[in-house]
Symmetry: C3
Subunit: 482 residues, 3 copies
């Protein structure tokens, strides 16, 4: 064996840091859950008493039955949707789906606590009471961090991802509290809270962690045929279940119903414009899998804020129509521009799929909120939709529109500010990230199976053994012998 | 580079036609939705008023909660089920799942309009009011076109598929109106309306578009190991969610419950007979993935019409038992016969999976309807199941059986007649379809990634670089250098 | 072609036995269903009368709406979850997902009968009345056999699997009757009934069928890159839907709600400890896909018994924390030890994923049952949770704890005893199982497609034909010419 070159510098060893982080944080979760978290009244064994006290006649009124199917759809989006969408790289499929799994499983625990402290803490008992809606919100919070992961895919270590998630969830919970509670903005599907925040958080981190010599990993920075098909699993589960995502925490009845319809339509429209622009931009009209895998989802992102508004079916179609175009152009023009001129390396193109459609969604939400009327919503419908109760009973729809716009700015500020801070933390040379010539390579953090080509069975498929030309054999399989 | 041969004739360029069709049709959708489509009362913000007017005490009575889980299952069948079932070809997986995505996303919009005009148009306001049941029906309608796509897979351009879908949805809506409203036939899971129509529509188009030299693409007309595993994703999601498909629009309560049980049992039985016949027909009893991927689903197709009838559990098992046999024999005997003698090229074997089981389902439906009785159904149950109300209050079950049989003929006529018409339209040499030696090849319409074999990383898996024998290297990687 | 060696001994021919078994058993099912099985009152067309008799005001009270979403999630776990989890072997993916499909489809029919005779038989009419809960229980029963399949994967013939399933379902139904009805133990998610029984049943069979020369198939006993990604589909669907599995047959209301929350948390914790131990145990901290695919699920197994208990969120986290550690250590230490010293070959490591976490779950269940109190549960909640009604109205929680422990022993005894018996039956040399050097090979029971490497299209990707060096060509493609 001549020229043996060791690929890895020693700093990618995460044998101490990764287990340490996992153990310490999981133990911390157990302690904090022990101190703070209990079942809410609908999940507690006292529910049969609660039913009597509150004159609830049927078990079906338990929020579980209203929201559990949506919760499971959202859960699939988080783990299979985001996970498989990130398997498109030819040799980073393990990292894509595996690290997605890790940070989501950690993030949701931390999110239950952070969101609980802000939203579900009982000041009397000091407990956070959790039920099905908390689980959905935790999944939502995790989605923000997974979006950020999309920009960093293949360039950071699992330890960095855990740190990124810890801070991301924390920032998310604060930002969400400001937007939903203080500004009282509506954002059922999280165009602002989830997508704008998550995307700018990830993009800013990526900018801080800029790798000038990333081109040294260019050989791995692309897909192969079957990895693109795997990614379509992610795309389709995201696409199909997005109506559940946007309607999961809407108010019962027409709110959930309308949000599902709007999202369904918006998504359908963005498929058509994505195919159109993708074909229009290529030699001989050939379609690009990157666009189909991503830009088709932009319609769901952009319906996040206005999901339960009376935007009407044609309004939803228009939103989807625009998003498909904007997002596909982003992949064609903006991603290369950002990498070259702004020094932002965005592996999955989250700027096109989450940032821009998120902003569009925020704008649509602000405008449609400002133009809402009693005629269209009915007085009670307006109160239900915008939750004009308590301190906000007298707020006008115009004011609401202004607060929606302000919410968008809050999400943007938290994303960029938080990303800059966390990016700096992640630049410490202690986290075990790979060299520039070893990005997008599962070899760094995973035990990989022997490759299909280097094993004999592929030569045995006609019911008999084949004696190969020994010279060719030797050269083909020199890997094993070296 | 010797003997450079250009594979493509120029007519596969869809750079103008595909974007044009997508844009024009999507804009048309927006305009028509703007003129015609509004939310129905259960999805409208006036729902809180409606509840009071109609004395509805709980939000859970909103049809959304009865049907949304089934809708999502159907949605998965349309996009992942049909999409991945069609990834089995070794080099047409992008086209299988991608074009499935495109035509489904377009088709469902057009279906909402066409079905809306026939079923949900309010004559006073002139609006179509849509809710969750319309979304399910739109997905059903799209299923008909996707079945037809199965016969054409790999042989037509995306523009042709869009045209096929436009006409297919239109024909479907008319046929459905005749069958369900005029003949008042029952077809909850669409054995007739969806499967017979869709299959004969696709088969007739395929017959009109017969390619005498298709054998020139023989090298691509088959699967590889992993493409067969991808196709099993489609098979399994179709198989698992078929009970939801057949029960999705049944009447609330026992109707949905019974339809799910019947379909579950019928599907289970067809798995066993499919394995049996597949093994019986091969040397050494080896199983054929084509049969397992397809014929196992025949039990679901054949329970479409009689899904909510009191066919009893053993009746459902008998239906599944027969379907598995018939469908597998179709793959063994009929598909080669049809290709050779009838000049019908049926890529996915939809005749075996949809046409024959659909006809069987229609016959089972007619017989079981004709033999229904008050004793078995209870008087009220009979009215619920067969919807003997209004104009049809006095119809006897025997008459119902006759109308069920008539409905089957209507589906057949629309399928064959419509297919002949649309086939002729698709023969115009303007649609950008591939030559006979380029069928089943994603290269024609997709930007493909470099192939796995032609990239260096596969040689690096033992933590060190390998210096390969330069001569072998050169020959192995001559593709890139040519 | 020199040295032509026929790989298969003649006894792998299942052309007679497999179809015979499938046909005979399916016909038997039809006859037995005809004699015994009818729809239950909620699925029968008389439901509208039942509603009046029982003063049920809304269709939504039909159990279908409480349980159908959970049922579909469980169904996905059985067919896609277990099926794809077993595709990880490089050349046994067809067998993994295909035989899983076969034995599940047969097993659920036999389970409906066996469980029906024990639980749903009406002594007056002599009929078994089935509804949605029976379908869920049948899927549960099948899960037990699929766990056993995991130990046998790649080493037995499909006929053996059918026999194993027939006996497995039978034993399961008896064991379940003893545990749930006679001992009145609680086991909503089946830590004992499903996992302990299934795992020891499979392990004992594997021990009886020990293959001393299995190392001859070593070349096939591992994964390739993409087969590991396929297996992650199975892992994730199992992981995501496990809350539905454990809550599917809990009592309505807080029971289902709490079971879902507990399982969700336990699973999340086991992901973190699995990653930690996996990284800790490998050179340079590299993660092992086998651990990620399996041990992450241990938290769900171990919450099976205590799912609906008031174990509190932190309790669920502790359970998951321990399981991830125990299960991953199992893969590292126990599986090799068992193979070498105990002569138990466990292909999928079910001892680590099902047996040990199942025992842990049983112990947790016994302890938490014994320490339950009126204060924590409320008197009515205690009755609901432990079903202290009828003959068991006066049972104390301490007694309950003892019976829970006894139930664990019953599951163990049935697993080991039944496995020994069935293993002996499966040793008869009539079942068509492969030789030791042909295990883990789809070639034995499946028609395989030509391999990707042996077909020309991979050389055509640059829009032109390539003339290859004929010498190299000949040697590379000698398989086809031999």
């Amino acid at each position: 064996m001549q020229n043996q070159i060791f690929i890895f510098s020693s700093n990618t060893n995460v044998r101490v840091s990764l287990p340490a982080v996992c153990f310490v944080w999981q133990v911390a979760m157990i302690i904090l859950f022990g101190v703070f978290v209990r079942y809410d009244k609908e999940a507690d064994a006292h529910w049969s008493e609660t039913k009597k006290e509150e004159n609830i006649t049927s078990n079906v009124e338990n929020d579980f039955y209203y929201r559990y199917p949506s919760f499971q759809d959202v859960h699939v989006m988080i783990f299979v949707g985001f996970g498989f969408l990130m398997t498109f790289l030819k040799r980073y499929s393990f990292g894509g789906v595996g690290f997605n799994f890790l940070i989501a499983a950690f993030g949701l625990q931390w999110a239950l606590l952070m969101q609980g402290w802000f939203h579900s803490l009982d000041p009397v008992t000091g407990y956070i009471y959790i039920g099905i809606e908390n689980l959905i919100n935790a999944d939502f919070c995790v989605a923000g961090c997974l979006i950020a992961f999309g920009a960093l895919l293949g360039k950071v270590s699992p330890v960095q991802l855990m740190v990124m998630t810890l801070f991301g969830v924390t920032l998310y919970a604060v930002e969400e509290y400001i937007i939903l509670n203080l500004l009282h903005a509506i954002d059922a599907g999280g165009s602002m809270v989830i997508h704008i925040f998550g995307a700018y958080y990830g993009l800013t981190i990526s900018w801080v962690l800029y790798r000038p010599n990333l081109h040294q990993s260019k050989r791995l920075h692309g897909s192969v045929y079957h990895s693109d098909v795997f990614a379509m699993i992610g795309t389709l589960f995201l696409w199909m279940y997005w109506p559940s995502f946007n309607s999961a925490i809407c108010y019962h009845g027409d709110g959930q119903h309308r949000a599902a319809i709007n999202t369904y339509l918006s998504l359908a429209a963005s498929v058509l414009t994505t195919f159109a622009i993708s074909s229009l931009s290529a030699k001989r009209g050939k379609l690009d899998m990157v666009h189909i895998q991503n830009a088709t989802l932009a319609g769901g992102v952009a319906m996040g804020t206005a999901a339960e508004f009376m935007i009407q079916p044609y309004g939803a179609l228009i939103v989807g129509f625009c998003c498909g175009i904007v997002s596909t152009f982003g992949y064609l023009v903006l991603t290369p521009f950002m990498e070259k001129c702004l020094k932002i390396q965005d592996t999955c193109g989250i700027h096109n799929l989450h940032a821009m459609p998120g902003v569009l969604g925020g704008v649509v939400g602000a405008i449609t909120a400002a133009t809402a009327s009693n005629a269209v919503y009915s007085p009670e419908g307006l109160i239900n939709t915008f939750d004009f109760q308590g301190n906000f009973a007298t707020r006008s729809v115009t004011t609401q529109g202004a607060y929606q716009a302000a919410a968008m700015c809050v999400a943007l500020i938290f994303g960029i500010g938080g990303g800059a801070l966390v990016g700096l933390i992640l630049r410490f040379p202690i986290w075990g990230d790979a060299e520039d010539d070893n990005c997008f390579d599962d070899e760094v953090y995973w035990e990989l199976p022997e490759d299909e080509e280097s094993i004999p069975p592929i030569l045995e498929y006609n019911n008999h053994m084949v004696t190969k030309n020994p010279d060719i054999c030797e050269s083909n399989f020199s890997v094993d012998q070296s």
